[in-house]
């Protein structure tokens, strides 16, 4: 065995990696399997069926879930679009402008929603809204989501922008491109995979948020996570497992897309 292999191979590290992946995936896979259980009890396995999926869409609680899903989706779409626009502008300003005094401060401010514990953000937002007399409901959830989605949109966009050589911009400017043309025809197309990756991440983060939403939603409005939280307070029911499995798939599809997008042409130009 060569020396390189000798110092790179440790007994037990592969096992630990497998333990790690098992812990990460086992709960999700088991819930997904049990969501196909035909039994109304979550303990006994009675055979495969799509009954609980039917129940999610047409059952007794389906109305509640549909309203919650609509709230979640519409908020996620609006919040991710808004925060991605803000993040794109900020990334170009921070990375494509000359260094200035407030640059590090700007970056710290943008990462603030990630650094501050979620529960503190939740408390702060609730207190602020109540102090300025902002009525809690759909729009307060939307505003809160826009704020905490910004860093998640910013990071992939900034990473992408850092990888784009300034020579392209210089070439465009040499050819008398206006600033608008430069953005439309040069920066935007090259930045697009980063923007889409950021958009998708912001979308998922908004769709998934529970703590902040739970604080600022007020009475009478639910998003999917708060509806699920309310439902599991009385115990885990099979329809919740079916609903969870659907949301799990949505998340995995979004993350996979985001991952593939951020890899597109990451070594300059498309593959």
């Amino acid at each position: 065995m060569s020396k390189v292999a000798y110092v790179k191979r440790y007994t037990g590290f592969l096992t630990m990696t497998m333990v790690c992946l098992t812990i990460l995936y086992a709960p999700l896979i088991i819930v997904a399997i049990y969501s196909f259980n035909s039994s109304p009890s979550i303990i006994v396995w009675e055979g495969l069926s799509l009954h609980w999926y039917w129940d999610v869409f047409f059952g007794i609680e389906s109305g509640k879930f549909k309203t919650a899903a609509w709230n979640s989706l519409s908020i996620a779409v609006m919040a991710s679009l808004t925060s991605t626009t803000i993040a794109t502008a900020a990334a170009i300003g921070i990375l494509r402008g000359r260094a200035f005094r407030g640059r590090n401060l700007s970056f710290m401010l943008i990462s603030m929603p990630i650094m501050v514990p979620e529960i503190v953000t939740a408390v702060a937002t609730l207190i602020f809204f109540s102090a300025i007399g902002f009525v809690l409901g759909y729009s307060s959830i939307l505003v809160a989501h826009i704020v905490f989605c910004i860093p998640f949109a910013y990071l992939p966009i900034a990473a992408r922008l850092r990888g784009i050589e300034p020579v392209f911009e210089e070439a465009a400017l040499d050819l008398y491109a206006s600033r608008g043309q430069l953005f439309r025809h040069v920066i935007f197309p090259m930045l697009l995979p980063g923007i889409l990756a950021g958009l998708l991440l912001a979308f998922i983060v908004s769709l998934d948020d529970f703590i902040i939403t739970n604080f600022v939603k007020g009475a009478g409005i639910e998003t999917l996570p708060t509806a699920i939280f309310g439902a599991v307070k009385q115990g885990i029911k099979p329809n919740i497992m079916a609903l969870s499995t659907i949301m799990l798939l949505v998340s995995i599809v979004c993350v996979t897309l985001s991952y593939l997008l951020s890899r597109v042409g990451s070594h300059g130009g498309r593959e």
Partner: protein
């Protein structure tokens, strides 16, 4: 992702330089107005008088911090004694977050090392596998964990069936369940920074040590570990910080005995306690603990950047 926090090196001044302030302005306004200002308001609220069942009266008061530290009897007229209840909640939170960090380190380090020593092409796939669960709804992950661990759940059924145990393990509603939940919530934050440092590590150093007859564990301990230490510190802080303020894992997996700061704060606003100044004070104490941790993180990454 997480490893980039706190640093940003600009490049290339260009056509957008004259517009830069206008481009950054929306981010400044939105986060400044809806997050920075609100957090300052929390500090103000922590010094106000509580109104029964939510809200505040705009009168200066130290009652929130007083309640946190001292017990003055039922009617508030006895001599103050140290009130351990809330200090214990914070202590327990720090302990649980610390244990979760340790668990992430014990499992995350070998994983990160293993991934970093794979051929370049498959590394990304491994990393992807480790990070995917992070993007699945935290609530769903926590519910799944509870489903798996509970006494009549699949794990115990399996263990009973195989005959490893005679009765269910009774993991749910213990500190261990909370630690597992936190581990499950934040593991990628440990793996990614460690992976980044091990990937940059020059294995020729290890080879040299091995040539001089160090066995592989000595090589790991004496050569590799000191060099990748910044990654380990960064990962530990990135796991510790969100664990400290976590709400879902302790709330759903820990039961009444194991509640942490997150539940304490939640109780003041969404629960029956309805004491906003006290909730604000607890939030500010939590935030200061986090700032201390982040300060060490910034110092660490700063050192890393210079090295």
């Amino acid at each position: 992702m997480a490893t980039e926090i706190g640093r940003d090196d600009g490049q290339a001044a260009g056509a957008f330089d004259p517009l830069k302030y206008w481009l950054i302005l929306p981010a400044w306004l939105v986060i400044g107005f809806f997050l920075l200002a609100p957090i300052c308001l929390v500090l103000v609220f922590s010094f106000l008088t509580k109104e029964f069942r939510g809200g505040v009266i705009w009168e200066f008061s130290l009652a929130a911090y007083d309640q946190f530290l001292f017990d003055r009897g039922l009617f508030g007229d006895e001599p103050p004694r140290i009130q351990w209840t809330y200090i214990e909640v914070f202590g327990r939170s720090i302990f649980q977050a610390g244990m979760a960090t340790l668990l992430c380190l014990v499992i995350g380090f070998p994983t990160a090392f293993y991934i970093a020593t794979r051929p370049r092409r498959v590394r990304a796939v491994w990393l992807f596998l480790v990070t995917v669960p992070y993007w699945v709804n935290l609530l769903i992950r926590t519910v799944s964990m509870k489903f798996l661990l509970r006494d009549s759940g699949p794990l115990n059924e399996f263990l009973l069936f195989v005959g490893v145990v005679d009765e269910p393990l009774g993991i749910v509603n213990t500190g261990l369940a909370v630690q597992l939940g936190l581990f499950y919530s934040y593991l990628p934050f440990m793996v990614l920074p460690i992976f980044a440092t091990v990937e940059r590590y020059d294995f020729a150093l290890s080879e040299a040590a091995a040539d001089l007859y160090a066995d592989r564990w000595t090589v790991l301990r004496k050569i590799l570990l000191p060099i990748v230490a910044p990654g380990i510190v960064a990962g530990s802080i990135l796991v510790f910080v969100p664990s400290l303020g976590a709400f879902l894992a302790p709330d759903m997996l820990g039961g009444a005995k194991n509640f942490m700061i997150g539940s304490l704060i939640d109780e003041q606003f969404n629960g029956n306690a309805g004491n906003w100044p006290f909730g604000s004070a607890a939030s500010m104490i939590l935030l200061s603990l986090v700032l201390v941790a982040l300060f060490f993180y910034a110092r660490q990454t700063g050192r890393q950047g210079r090295a």
